[in-house]
């Protein structure tokens, strides 16, 4: 078994202090300790991208990090994208373009795209495709996701 550590994280603007086992992944911590189940696990080995979240503004795979590595960090998960009932332009674009079917990979795509658009607010289609090439979707065939991100890029200017 493994030792326990107290960590403090800010998730979606809210601060949490928890005692965690050293071996607990960040994804399991978010899902099981904080009940933020919007972050999904599709492969648990860092390929599918379903567990993508933002750690200090950067897109990371939460399945491949330990919770203790996030001590002191600021995290953003899919639950933190909308402002109340108002969807983030990316979320709205995903619905408009039918960029999701089963919805399981969607949180990872949203978070990857969110980080990408912060860095590259006016991307080309090729850039969008490259940006999301580390996320797997089995339903949509990606084309509507690319369209949705381009649509959101037209709206997000920040």
């Amino acid at each position: 078994m493994s030792s326990k550590h107290t960590i403090t994280v800010t998730v979606n603007g809210k601060s949490y202090e928890r005692l965690v086992e050293a071996r607990v992944t960040l994804a399991d911590f978010l899902r099981n300790e904080l009940d933020l189940t919007g972050t999904h696990l599709g492969c648990e080995h860092g390929v599918c991208g379903a567990c993508t979240i933002l750690l200090n503004g950067e897109a990371v795979r939460s399945c491949s990090l330990l919770a203790v590595q996030a001590d002191g960090a600021e995290l953003l998960t899919v639950e933190g994208l909308a402002r109340g009932a108002e969807l983030h332009p990316l979320q709205q674009a995903f619905q408009d373009q039918h960029a999701l079917q089963c919805g399981f990979c969607t949180p990872g795509f949203l978070m990857t795209a969110y980080a990408f658009l912060k860095e590259r607010p006016k991307p080309t289609e090729t850039e969008v495709r490259e940006a999301i090439s580390g996320n797997l979707c089995r339903c949509t065939g990606y084309l509507p996701i690319v369209k949705a991100i381009l649509q959101a890029a037209g709206k997000t200017t920040t």
Partner: protein, 776 residues
């Protein structure tokens, strides 16, 4: 008349919960006192189990129970076949946990139940199993020699044979001007939904009721089987699917875990969760597609098809699973496709090997047979120097020949009848939309270091009465509002939106009044499920009938109240009108209030509801064409798709946004399966592709622009909506169209594709082999 909802590209209402992270998938469910299970799986392909020692694992604090087959005792039934029960297959069913022997890598051996998933996995590491290795057999031909027997007690690896005989193929072959024989092979690959399998079972000790979450696809049938296993009445089980992260054939079938987890919960009296990891998924959930076909074709010299003769071999893996012989048998069933082929003879062999068991993957048997047939047609066209389009046109079944009976092609069922269609028209439309004539001069041309090829494939895809019925219940409530309860379930397709569209039109109410509930055995007592593109054909039709029935009831009550006959009234957008008048005579809110407060208005009943079942033992057939323009780099073997198009006549399109989404998504899966994905076995029967690093799924940079053209030229006469199913058409022709395109591209090098996948290494190897042969 209000504008119909059917046919409108309405955005999905279910999206909101998914894009805000509020969906509820199996692993999101937490119950008080819940335990976590993990499965010990065989690392060997074929071995005798000498001993299993769980003592050390049991001693780990937090480990609650570890069990093997012995602990299940007399209850231990094998996982039964659900369909395609070809005689002989019943001897090869999978036990819930390995009995004396393991037969594939990934076979469940023991179950650990612990206070957390982490602890359960610790315990897996501490279980000691002593194996005595046996030689393994992985490939068809080797298995058919019976030198290594996977199930010794049966004395053979040939589990079953199914034969089809239509017309007189032998005679047709004798008389033919032209015959050709080829062997084709489709490789082993599978669905890989992004959410792995998983379930939570909660046995209520007091009520002796079991609630299981995460079940899907075939809730009612699965409940019946599990109830019988647990020796509980069926109504004591509640199967609930929640949100599901994709199906594609693989999910929702019964696997050993679907017995083991409820069994553990019942034994322990506590909720038990099991979530499969990806490695387990790749080695334990159904594999698919691995079928070899020796195909012979006979024709007149003008290209008129006379006969097909085939021997089909399915690599079933170590155990026959729920689908029975479906994959190879279904390959045989639709091998003649959309063509007039009067003589057809086929022998299907179900062969047992030391691989993972076989089940369906989106368009099972259809993808495979389309590749075999369409590839052979292109070879024949080249031999006879006939244009491949003309060859197809010449042999397509004509609209006036519909319905067209192919004959008995499936074991234990009705003859295969193509219900309706205008096949030539869809071909013409496809060629025009693709700009085929303009691209054709590029055929085989070498430009900028790459060979160009344009390939096409014609497909038909059956669905509908694969299982006999579906049900729906529609209730008008206060508000007024309408609730729809469906016997079918949803694996991500968007039924909550599409079904609301169907109900709104049939009932005559605004769509936003309607809530759609599904995926719970308590909602509608009988049903089958969502698979093989049948959701809208069967469930949608049941809903249409139920909504029409309720409308009739409503108009009768309104008529009594208004002093009019029901035929004089109409219901539109939630208001009752006297026909021919503009002002509403009664609104539904008022009608609901009348019935709620007194049963005198509705034959002694307070509720306004109607249940209907749609029954059918017939199949609808969507059809269409795939077209691909590829460029192949002879140095790397890399196939780049420059243009791809799917044209499909779905009979009637309920929501074009969703239907196009299905077509494009399926096409990308098919392209991935054709170019990238393969389940590869290595030495000692080890599955080498157990991560997404080894099993390569297509990503956003692998995907070409895909154009989807949805046709509604010929509605199906077999259901009230005219729909033909739209979930798989985008998949069926991918292997065939790409293989034809690559063959044209490399025709100057003498390469003819007969085997999938078309991964760079394989394509490059073919080029090299042909170059070496030609140099000799």
């Amino acid at each position: 008349m209000a504008k119909p909802y059917i046919g409108a590209p309405i955005k999905r209402r279910e999206d909101i919960r998914f894009i805000t992270g509020k969906g509820t998938y199996a692993d999101d469910i937490k119950l008080p006192g819940m335990l976590h299970a993990a499965i010990l799986r065989s690392p060997r392909a074929h071995a005798r189990i000498r001993s299993i020692d769980t003592a050390q694992a049991r001693a780990i604090p937090g480990v609650v129970w570890i069990f093997t087959l012995k602990d299940i005792g007399e209850m231990a039934v094998p996982v039964p076949m659900r369909m395609y029960k070809v005689p002989g297959l019943e001897r090869y069913l999978q036990p819930l946990l390995a009995r004396d022997k393991v037969r594939y890598m990934g076979e469940p051996v023991a179950v650990v139940v612990a206070e957390s998933r982490y602890l359960a996995e610790d315990a897996l590491d501490a279980i000691e199993v002593e194996y005595e290795d046996l030689p393994e057999v992985l490939e068809l031909r080797a298995a058919m020699r019976n030198e290594v027997l996977v199930h010794e007690e049966n004395g053979t690896n040939l589990a079953a044979v199914h034969e089809i005989s239509i017309g007189d193929a032998a005679r047709a072959f004798e008389k033919a001007d032209y015959v050709r024989r080829e062997e084709f092979r489709v490789h082993r690959h599978t669905g890989n939904p992004m959410e792995t399998r998983g379930l939570v079972a909660n046995f209520d000790v007091g009520k002796r009721e079991l609630t299981a979450y995460g079940m899907t696809k075939l809730l009612h049938y699965n409940r019946q089987v599990i109830a019988s296993f647990l020796k509980l009445p069926e109504h004591n089980l509640h199967f609930i699917e929640n949100d599901i992260g994709g199906g594609f054939g693989i999910r929702g079938e019964l696997y050993p875990e679907d017995f083991l987890i409820p069994f553990a919960s019942m034994r322990l009296g506590r909720p038990v969760k099991w979530i499969e990891d990806r490695r387990e998924h790749l080695m334990a959930a159904n594999h698919s597609r691995e079928v070899t076909c020796e195909l012979e074709i006979a024709a007149k010299k003008d290209g008129t098809l006379l006969a097909l003769r085939a021997r089909i071999y399915g690599n079933m893996g170590a155990y026959v699973r729920t689908h029975g012989g479906l994959v190879p048998c279904s390959t045989a069933a639709l091998l003649p496709g959309p063509y007039r082929i009067p003589n057809y003879q086929c022998k299907v062999h179900c062969v047992i090997t030391n691989k993972t068991g076989m089940g369906t993957y989106r368009a099972p048997g259809r993808y495979e047979s389309c590749f075999f047939r369409e590839r052979m047609l292109d070879m024949m066209a080249a031999d006879l120097e006939i244009d491949p389009v003309d060859l197809r046109r010449k042999n397509l079944i004509q609209p006036e020949e519909m319905p067209y009976e192919i004959g008995l092609t499936r074991p234990g069922t009705n003859p295969t009848v193509l219900d309706s269609g205008n096949y030539p028209s869809a071909l013409n439309r496809a060629l025009k939309e693709f700009d085929y004539d303009k691209l054709r001069p590029l055929q085989g041309r070498f430009e900028n270091g790459r060979y160009h090829g344009i390939g096409l494939a014609y497909f038909v895809k059956n669905t509908g009465g694969l299982e006999p019925y579906e049900g729906a219940r529609v209730v008008l409530r206060d508000g007024p509002s309408v609730t729809v309860y469906l016997s079918i379930n949803v694996l991500g397709q968007g039924h909550e939106t599409a079904m609301a569209q169907i109900c709104a039109d049939a009932l005559g109410v605004p769509m936003d009044w309607i809530s759609v509930f599904h995926g719970n055995t308590d909602l509608v007592p009988f049903g089958w499920g969502t698979f093989a593109s049948r959701g809208t054909v069967m469930g949608g039709s049941a809903l249409h009938l139920a909504a029409q029935g309720l409308k009739k009831k409503i108009l009768t009550i309104a008529g009594d109240h208004l002093g009019a006959g029901p035929a004089e009234l109409d219901l539109q957008e939630g208001k009752i009108y006297r026909k021919g008048t503009e002002a509403p005579a009664l609104d539904l809110g008022k009608l609901v209030a009348l019935v709620r407060h007194s049963t005198m208005h509705n034959q002694g009943q307070p509720e306004l509801e109607e249940t209907a079942y749609f029954n059918s033992n017939k199949m609808t057939h969507s059809y269409g064409v795939h077209l691909a323009h590829v460029a192949v780099d002879p140095e790397t073997g890399m196939v780049e798709i420059l243009k791809y198009m799917v044209v499909e006549d779905v009979g009637r399109c309920i929501n074009p946004l969703l239907v196009h989404g299905q077509a494009v998504g399926a096409a990308v899966q098919g392209i991935g399966g054709t170019l990238l994905e393969e389940l590869v076995y290595g030495e000692n029967g080890q599955l080498l592709t157990t991560t997404f690093r080894d099993y390569v799924l297509p990503s956003s940079t692998d995907v070409p622009a895909i154009e989807s053209v949805v046709l509604e030229e010929v509605p199906s006469p077999l259901n009230p909506l005219g729909v033909k199913g739209a979930g798989e058409g985008g998949m069926v022709g991918t292997g065939a169209a790409l293989a034809n395109a690559v063959s044209y591209a490399l025709s100057s090098l003498g390469v003819e594709i007969k085997e999938l996948p078309l991964s760079p290494d394989k394509v490059r190897a073919l080029i090299r082999r042909r170059s070496a042969e030609q140099a000799r």
